[in-house]
Symmetry: C2
Subunit: 238 residues, 2 copies
């Protein structure tokens, strides 16, 4: 009896099952979605799994390797939200929207992945999707490659930026966000006439508007580049 007493006091612990990479990834997603200061710490993960924090190192070389696996899961979740049968522009638009939605669901993950590649299956699927879309738009070869990177890297950066903001302690986030309606409202009209003249408009801009403008800028660029190439080829042929 004495030998089981510590297991007794934490009845949720272990539940008889062995730890597995799968279980660790799923627990990571749960705590990442729950948010908070310790949204993705090894100790919090051990708590969620009901085991010693360091047990994770039996299944993943280090926390970074776990992060990449977890992140690839979130990429899959975003991908699954993109409907089939859309034309290239709507397909990329949907991918951008899903990436933001899922990214905000697991902000600690997307903020850490803003400049990373998972090099795992779901990333391959997303790359294939974007390459298919830019091909459908009319880009080939090096043009397709550059514009794929432009789109993919930008979405990653935007989502990571949004997510990092959400991770902030509410008080600091508020200070950063309310800058437009507070500090900027007090800007010296002599030195900063443009700011002074647009103070109301600057305070009224929403994240949705900004994200839409960013995504549309990228889609427009792909479309225009394809038109440029077509025009050049027509000129060469004629």
């Amino acid at each position: 009896m004495a030998t089981h007493s510590s297991a007794r006091t934490a009845t949720s612990k272990r539940s008889g099952s062995q730890l597995s990479p799968e279980a660790i990834i799923e627990a990571s997603l749960r705590i990442a979605a729950r948010g908070g200061d310790d949204a993705f710490t090894v100790r919090r993960l051990g708590q969620e799994l009901g085991c010693d924090p360091t047990a994770v190192y039996r299944h993943f070389r280090d926390k970074d390797e776990l992060l990449l696996s977890v992140a690839d899961r979130t990429l899959g979740e975003a991908l699954d939200g993109v409907p089939h049968g859309l034309a290239w522009r709507d397909r990329l638009r949907a991918l951008a929207a899903e990436s933001l939605r899922v990214g905000m669901k697991y902000p600690v993950v997307s903020s850490l992945m803003a400049s990373r590649t998972t090099r795992r299956p779901n990333e391959f699927r997303i790359v294939e999707l974007i390459l298919g879309a830019v091909h459908e738009a009319g880009l080939t070869g090096a043009d397709a490659a550059v514009h794929y990177r432009m789109f993919g890297d930008s979405i990653l950066a935007y989502v990571g930026q949004h997510a990092a903001l959400q991770l902030f302690a509410p008080t600091e986030r508020e200070a950063d966000q309310s800058a437009w309606s507070r500090e900027y409202r007090l800007a010296d009209r002599e030195r900063f006439p443009r700011i002074a003249g647009l103070v109301e408009e600057l305070a009224a801009v929403t994240h949705e508007e900004i994200y839409a403008a960013r995504v549309e800028a990228l889609l427009d660029k792909i479309e225009r580049r394809a038109a440029e190439v077509r025009a050049a080829e027509a000129a060469a042929d004629g």
Copy 2:
């Protein structure tokens, strides 16, 4: 004599001068530019200043307040690199280039600022510059505000993304970066035909090309939106 012995053994310490916010900011810039794992830690800063690490808290409420002051200095450095007399497009292009250059000079700072505002003088100057440029492009009111945010936030996100990548330990950065020439080269041709077909082009894309495509996409968007508004106004007038 005994009372001075500890000061003796560290002759570079204090050098008689009081600590000041200025001195702390400049020391922060020096260690941030030098890079490394402890590029911006309180302990490393104390070492650089030749004083106890916690002395910094006499002059800044916390590390975040110091970060914002340091970041605003880097914004000023970027701004000073933008030549006068350029037309709006070249002015924004120059700002984007200088932001990247300075951001990579202090990667630890720009990676931390990717989703932040400093709410300090040099940020006001940059906002004024961008607003002036979009106004020159032909945007007014809410359009000017949204497209300013689109441009400003995107540059911040791109530079932060680049900087975060550079901060990585070389081995991990290499793994992430070489993905295109390693993992992706091994992609299954059946499942990922687009990737397989563009493997060489994907591996050959440079950061400079990607950054140029991203920036030009934003500039094009501003120009096209202005043209749209002009066309709508002409239609309403005629």
